[in-house]
């Protein structure tokens, strides 16, 4: 398969955060210390090399960036200070923009201004629409039930609309990812039963993030801290998403607390709050290698998330204490930040929620196929003459 070289690829990656790739002199120290590198998936050195050579087509079909969880050992060890860990991170950003067929992700990653402006515009439009809707049919002093400012049935429909838009984009991007990796990037035959055999990988990696915990073994963090908190944040987020999409009517009703639903909400909130506080603190303190360089989108990510969490909590308190006017106002603000967040999801870092488990799944399928291929080659006798 002929590969076309893109000589300016490395300059483009510069905008995604990979600044020091040119420094790499291919010693292989990074691959040596990486706890995830194995015989089939060797990184980060090979990815660095592909980048230096401008093999854009090879990188867009590669799985390696998704198999890295950025423990930072390679960057600590690197004798050239070429920062392979950050390069893998930037490659993930680039891949997100590559999987996205609309080109929006690419714009967001390249220019922080465009991203912030878009978020503000969407937030403003949402705010105007919600306030218009609220005053046209209800009163600010009623939170739920008859004549409410934002009735839960309406919010449910609103959520489902936003959710289906999100789902369409995500599925399309995931399909694009599958096409790039399993069709364009895999030149050998992949048996269909591999897809079924390895399917358990998807939920397994989605709910446990096993590989992340393996990554931290040699690190200085106590109790697998980043993995634990990352898992808490992710589970909290998913629980919240399910609650909002499906159980919003039970969640919003009455000043009294429905424990059967709310207990999940509280647990999810704990996960979200710890997660955002932990990651913001690390990004500010820069104690660990992986938090030393923060891309613009990383900051948008954590700041927006913390606004959502904060307004959500405040709104919940206001509603339960009977301050309906304030509760309605904070609810509008909360939704103003939630809508751009959800619409931005397929085009941002948050998409790795889907891509990572998919990548593990594909990685195992490809590994199976490769082993089968090698077996076949070995069993066929080679005719010399």
């Amino acid at each position: 398969m002929a590969i076309r070289v893109n000589p300016t690829f490395i300059d483009e990656l510069d905008r995604f955060g990979a600044e020091d790739v040119q420094l790499c002199y291919q010693c292989g120290d990074c691959s040596t210390v990486c706890p995830h590198a194995d015989d089939v998936y060797k990184f980060p050195r090979k990815s660095m090399r592909s980048l230096q050579m401008g093999l854009e087509q090879k990188i867009e079909t590669s799985l390696e960036p998704w198999l890295c969880y950025y423990c930072g050992q390679c960057s600590t060890q690197c004798p050239r200070e070429a920062d392979p860990g950050e390069t893998m991170m930037s490659l993930r950003r680039w891949l997100i923009s590559r999987y996205d067929f609309t080109g929006i992700a690419r714009k967001f990653f390249k220019s922080r201004r465009t991203e912030v402006m878009t978020i503000f515009t969407v937030a403003l439009l949402t705010g105007v629409f919600l306030i218009y809707y609220g005053f046209s049919g209800g009163s600010l002093s009623i939170y739920d039930g008859e004549g409410a400012f934002l009735p839960s049935q309406f919010i449910h429909k609103f959520d489902l609309t936003i959710g289906s838009i999100l789902l369409i984009f995500l599925l399309a991007n995931a399909f694009h990812m599958w096409y790039l990796i399993m069709v364009k990037g895999t030149s050998f035959y992949v048996p269909w039963w591999s897809y079924i055999k390895q399917f358990y990988q998807l939920p397994w990696h989605f709910f446990t993030q096993k590989r992340y915990s393996e990554c931290e073994k040699k690190q200085e963090h106590p109790f697998f801290m980043p993995w634990f908190i990352h898992l808490g944040l992710m589970l909290g987020y998913v629980t919240m998403l399910v609650l909002v999409m499906v159980f919003i009517e039970q969640l919003q009703s009455g000043p009294d607390i429905r424990w059967s639903v709310h207990i999940f909400g509280y647990l999810a909130t704990i996960g979200l709050v710890t997660g955002t506080v932990y990651f913001i603190r690390n990004r500010l303190k820069k104690n660990y290698v992986q938090y030393k360089k923060s891309h613009g989108t990383d900051w948008v990510f954590v700041v927006l998330l913390s606004i959502i969490v904060l307004t959500g909590i405040i709104q919940h308190i206001f509603h339960r204490t009977g301050l309906n006017e304030l509760a309605n106002i904070t609810y509008v603000i909360h939704l103003m930040s939630v809508v751009p967040w959800l619409l931005r999801m397929p085009f941002s870092k948050w998409a790795h929620l889907i891509y990572r488990p998919l990548a593990m799944y594909f990685a195992e399928i490809r590994r199976d196929a490769l082993a089968r291929q090698e077996k076949m080659i070995q069993s066929v006798p080679v005719l010399i003459k």
Binding site: Y25, Q26, C27, G28, D29, S31, T32, V33, A37, D38, D39, K42, R45, Q77, P79, R80, E81
Partner: protein, 600 residues
């Protein structure tokens, strides 16, 4: 010739005022335009073309710390405007040593020479002084020995100052030299003996230079000679004192892998061939003459005097040669290799002593044996001749070298000595696997590439890819690496790891540079005046550098440089010129000389 001067400064050099130099350059004859380009990226080619056309320039001078970086752009521009590309002159401040006192005048002179099209070293020749025909050489390694012999053989007086008890330096510790696999001692020891017996060489061992005064051509040097406690002339090296000495400490000559007594001879072929007492470990000296003293009673020649005191020696010399050498980087601070934790992780110099036939195991390559220390009751790992030979050995290149955290530079000798080790192991241990982990094979000298090919053919596994982890798994060392050429990750179980440790300037370098006022570069090595043009001179007149103290180099290069220094020193005696501080040359002197050459 219509000349344009462009100042291309990548970063602000604190000792130079570029504006002042630019003003000076504007007043030079034939200079049409002077521009200061404070640019990190390259200047635009259109801009340069415009400048050349509008000023009708015939010659372009690029001035700055590294003007060569900008030359390609200017060359293109000149070629585009149909100019003569040979008329692009570089005025490199860094190359011609503009630092310290007089830096401004020197920078101006460099620009002036470039505008006239004259090579700067041609114009900047310091004037002659009467020269004292004695020479001081600091450091008694192969470089110092070679220079001393060259100068003494020409009939001139040489003072050879050596810090330790014997001359020979690091080369005396080596087993074989690469790439010829000659015995190092067979080359070195005849030279050492000649130095010891030469009538024109005064050998001062256990000595340090304390102070230097005077001007080029006549330096007055104060040397402190530490007490040896043994009379060199009457000692016959009968070894009886060592037999009775109760103190045991690690041997410096054996790189710490064996023990020596407090009264000892560094190695049997030492020059001067006499014993000495280590005042930091001798019981008698440490207790103020109260305890022990067994060696004094035992000595049949009565040549041991433990009450001897240090001497101060004053000498007058015309030239000083620095040959202070190098030492090894402290590997225990590079944690991933486990040096100091795993017993069989060795540095290169330790392995060199292990494989040397005069070493503690008699040249047998063995792993360390576990013994119980009788005094402390703890278990220790030591080399003994009965130890088990290793079944597989890993050699790791570039340990601390080419690494931004430790030494950014290449230590230049490690690739070759590691290949030599591979050969020695293959030769001495039957059925052994040797793995070489390298980043880039720097086999740059005569016969080196052939040597590397030969080692590969001998069956050494040469792995292109560095290893950054040595771990212990079930009492067995595991070295992990990436075999880049074969595209796989490899793990080898090994019994011994030899680290090719990077080189750093020796400990006394900083003090010597302070005493003599010689500049050092950012890595700590002595700065030569001009890397290409005068690699042996320093900016101080009559002070030369030879060997490793200037930068890492192998034995052939060291010997060549040492001989080159001797030629410079002897030249100064016959011509009476070439003496004088380079940095003290005044601007008007260089200018007038440049004009004279220009007129010719």
């Amino acid at each position: 010739m219509r000349t344009g001067v462009f100042f291309c400064q990548t970063e602000d050099n604190s000792s130079l005022n570029i504006d002042a130099i630019a003003k000076y350059a504007a007043n030079l004859p034939e200079v049409e335009t002077v521009q200061i380009l404070r640019l990190k990226p390259l200047p635009g080619i259109n801009f340069i073309c415009e400048q050349i056309k509008s000023n009708n320039l015939e010659r372009i001078v690029l001035a700055g710390d590294i003007p060569g970086y900008y030359k390609p752009v200017f060359t293109k521009a000149v070629a585009l405007t149909d100019g003569n590309t040979d008329e692009i002159r570089l005025a490199s401040f860094q190359e011609h040593g503009t630092k310290g006192e007089n830096a401004m005048d020197r920078a101006k002179a460099i620009v002036a020479c470039a505008t006239m099209g004259i090579p700067f070293p041609l114009a900047a020749v310091p004037g002659g002084n009467p020269v004292n025909h004695a020479t001081l050489i600091i450091g008694g390694g192969i470089a110092g020995i070679q220079s001393a012999l060259e100068i003494a053989n020409a009939g001139k007086q040489v003072y050879l100052v050596e810090q330790t008890g014997t001359i020979g330096g690091h080369m005396a510790m080596f087993d074989k030299t690469f790439p010829t696999l000659d015995c190092a001692a067979c080359i070195l020891t005849p030279k050492m003996v000649t130095v010891g017996q030469h009538e024109m060489i005064r050998l001062l061992t256990r000595s340090n230079v304390v102070a230097v005064t005077g001007k080029p051509g006549s330096y007055r040097v104060k040397i402190r000679q530490k007490a040896r406690f043994v009379d060199i002339k009457s000692c016959v090296a009968c070894n009886q004192c060592t037999e009775v000495c109760p103190v045991k400490v690690k041997s410096e000559f054996d790189a710490g892998i064996s023990l020596r007594k407090a009264i000892y001879i560094p190695f049997p072929q030492a020059v001067p061939n006499a014993y000495l007492v280590d005042e930091t470990s001798c019981v008698n000296i440490l207790s103020g003459g109260e305890k022990c003293g067994a060696c004094v009673k035992k000595c049949p020649k009565e040549c041991i005097n433990l009450n001897e005191t240090d001497k101060i020696i004053d000498i007058e010399v015309g030239n000083i040669i620095l040959a202070t050498g190098y030492e090894f980087l402290d590997v225990s601070k590079i944690e991933q290799y486990g040096y100091g934790i795993f017993p069989n992780v060795l540095t290169s110099i330790e392995f060199e002593r292990l494989t040397n036939a005069s070493g503690t195991t008699g040249g047998r390559i063995v792993t360390k044996s576990r013994v119980i220390n009788k005094k402390t009751g703890k278990e220790e790992f030591i080399f003994s001749p009965e130890g088990m030979p290793p079944k597989s050995v890993a050699l790791i290149h570039c340990v601390g070298s080419r690494n931004k955290k430790y030494n950014p530079y290449c230590s230049r000798v490690c690739c070759m000595y590691s290949l030599k080790f591979a050969h020695l192991i293959k030769e001495k241990v039957p059925n052994v696997n040797v793995y070489e982990f390298y980043i880039d094979m720097r086999a740059f000298g005569k016969g080196y590439e052939e040597f590397a090919e030969r080692i590969k053919q001998e069956g050494t596994f040469v792995v292109r890819g560095h290893s950054a982890s040595v771990a212990m798994r079930n009492e067995q060392m595991v070295v992990r690496g990436e075999d880049i050429f074969n595209d796989r990750l490899v793990e080898f179980y090994v019994d011994m790891v030899v680290l090719a440790v990077g080189l750093v300037p020796s400990r006394g370098t900083e003090e010597i540079s302070r005493i003599l006022g010689v500049q050092r570069d950012s890595d700590g090595w002595f700065s030569e005046l001009d890397y290409n043009g005068s690699p042996t001179d320093t900016d101080k007149g009559g002070i030369y550098v030879a060997g490793m103290c200037q930068a890492p180099k192998d034995i052939p290069d060291t010997v060549a440089q040492a001989s080159a220094v001797a030629a410079g020193v002897l030249g100064s005696f016959t011509s009476g010129k070439g003496i004088g501080h380079m940095s003290s040359l005044s601007l008007s002197e260089i200018e007038s000389r440049a004009k004279k050459i220009h007129a010719i």
